[in-house]
Symmetry: C2
Subunit: 402 residues, 2 copies
């Protein structure tokens, strides 16, 4: 994709590409496809009235989208409506698919999502990736990608791109993992290790989780802070429906916000960072437990059973999250904070202290904190959907590739 | 202005206005005007090559901008160039002007800036506005506005709009001051108290200061955190050349980021907020001084003379700023932090401890911190220029009003 996560920097007014007929046509193709995707099935007339173009103009655009395999006709609308029956349009259930992948500390996952947003194929493998070199991890991931792509192709889909979620910082080139401490990776060009057959986008798992929340979440949030965690604490900031990347692509490092300025040293070089209080390892240590596999599951299980040490450790983690989020909320003024990813499984024990800390530090009503309904699936779905959105945003770019 | 600070929320792809010929013409008028403004004087041919339109198309657009009084011809270019000499175009030094105004705790200021970015008229009045009701303050400001507008009109300019910087939180309606603790204002509809003759935009002073830095600053920063202070500590976040507003318009409240979670209580409801360590009053208290007029000037003067208490108080304020900025930098990943507004006058004594605190909390190279060359003038200039930018961004909107 030329625009990683669809947010290449817009050129300034004087430097933008000229506003040509060709550009207008591409944008209008996207409007038609987005409208049918969001509200279809729709007739050509309904599309025309929704986007404010003439029916003739829409028909031309629709014909092009049908030829490219992005839209399909469902046949005449049911009778009984006023006027000549139009044929209902829907986005294609064949055609392009987004391939999403996730590199977790304990697992690999891949899925294919069609233009209708349905998961059409899926593969997961439990594997201990901690401190495992990038080559073998990418090799295993490639195998899963090929399996999922083969299944999707058998159903008439073709991969429009591959998007990979990783638990680490990714450079703005959207292929280099600059730092993934829990994998032990540094300055790893993941792009060179993955199949070159598809356009590739690599991004932080919290970023894809936030995009999943934006596109698939229950609310209609457009300004929020999405907090997730696997071993570290990741976050992503969505502003006006767009992900905030930051200058180097590292925005959202909530885990290294100072919570106690003279607290314990952190690997980042700081002291008293949030991760020292609310990261998985800190919570396990505070609860007197050894790190093992499925740490979130173990913590949730023990908390459920009433283990006082685990509950106290999670309560304290919630307090630390509340302090760090007070700062973040003051800086960003979001509509909401959403706990997603692995954190969502611990929410029942984190939320009370987190919310009360936010409330006691806020004069007016405190910023609402909710739990993502997508849970740990968010990053994988966000990755696959980012490819699908790329097609909806510029259908002309894939039209030649069918 | 229909788009306060030029950043109305963009509609999503399916909901945007249709991409019409009319919209295309308006955007191209803006491209021509921006190009001449940034790089002029330029011939029609030079404009055409820079924006990638045909010379004929550019000539039509230029004619319209000349008729509207936004561009003017300087006469034929100097001979000796290859080809037929073209007439050089420049933005008009008459025509529309942006009126900027600032409500400070100790002063009021108004200025008029023409399309070329020059300040053409200016009026300042020292007045103690602390705890003064909005009516009389707006009355005094209106008097200054009328004086500045009359001077501008005498030079052939006409006011395209009025933008007012205030030291407080402003609602997204861009006219209601929700809270300005140092003025003692709450939920004040400033729009109702100011002349209705001009389109009005009210915004936080730190926001206008940040825009001034973006448009007029020495660097070419597009992602930065602008920190200013009068009595409180304000900040504004610029992402990809756009101001981050937040859900309620309150983004950038750096002053209430917790720095010592169990520190002194703050009026905001929190504890240990940055303002309790680095706000003007906290610094005066730490230095054992009484608040008076021109507090920044007094602090700077004493620090200059080597007053150990003042220097220590400023050093500690810098450390607190460093802690709060570590969190902000981790969240936002800006290119740079810029100290502006009143803070810029204290920078020599704040910067060393601020920078070393940021550096000791960062593993790699720390985020650069610089001082705005605009100093305390930033917010006023940013306000006036926001009106000018509004004209450059949509010249068709003012064309009928000459």
């Amino acid at each position: 994709m030329s625009a990683p996560l669809h947010e290449a920097r817009p050129a300034g007014p004087g430097r933008a590409l000229p506003d040509t007929q060709q550009g207008m046509r591409r944008r209008n193709l996207s409007r038609v496809l987005h409208t049918v995707s969001a509200e279809g099935p729709l007739s050509r007339a309904a599309v025309a009235s929704r986007i404010g173009l003439t029916r003739a103009a829409v028909s031309t655009l629709v014909d092009e989208l049908i030829r490219s395999g992005l839209l399909e006709e469902l046949g005449p609308e049911r009778p009984g409506r006023v006027g000549r029956p139009g044929s209902a349009l829907a986005v294609s259930g064949r055609g392009p698919a987004g391939i999403g992948a996730e590199v977790g500390v304990d697992h690999l996952a891949v899925c294919a999502v069609d233009l209708r947003g349905r998961v059409r194929s899926r593969a997961v493998r439990q594997v201990a990736n901690r401190d495992r070199p990038p080559g073998p991890v990418a090799g295993d991931l490639t195998e899963l990608v090929h399996r999922v792509v083969a299944e999707a192709e058998a159903e008439g889909l073709w991969p429009a791109g591959l998007a990979v979620a990783v638990p680490g910082l990714v450079a703005r080139d959207a292929r280099t993992v600059v730092r993934a401490p829990n994998l032990g990776w540094q300055d790893t060009d993941l792009g060179a290790l993955l199949p070159s057959r598809f356009p590739l986008t690599v991004a932080n798992e919290a970023n894809f989780g936030a995009l999943a929340e934006l596109w698939l979440g229950e609310g209609t949030l457009r300004d929020f802070l999405h907090v997730s965690a696997e071993i570290g604490i990741g976050a992503a900031v969505v502003v006006d429906g767009r992900l905030l990347h930051g200058n180097r692509g590292f925005a959202g490092e909530l885990g290294h916000v100072p919570v106690q300025p003279e607290g314990p040293e952190c690997a980042c070089g700081g002291r008293g960072c949030l991760e020292q209080y609310a990261g998985e390892e800190a919570v396990l240590r505070a609860a007197g437990l050894e790190p093992g596999e499925d740490r979130v599951g173990m913590l949730a299980g023990r908390a459920e059973q009433g283990d006082a040490d685990v509950r106290r450790a999670l309560r304290d983690a919630g307090t630390a999250l509340g302090i760090a989020l007070t700062g973040a909320v003051n800086l960003l003024d979001p509509e909401s904070v959403v706990l997603g990813g692995a954190l969502s499984g611990l929410a029942p024990w984190l939320l009370p202290s987190l919310r009360s800390e936010l409330a006691r530090r806020t004069a007016g009503p405190a910023c609402p904190v909710s739990v993502s309904a997508l849970g740990p699936e968010g990053p994988l779905l966000g990755a696959a959907h980012s490819v699908v959105r790329g097609v909806l945003d510029d259908p002309a770019a894939v039209a030649g590739r069918t």
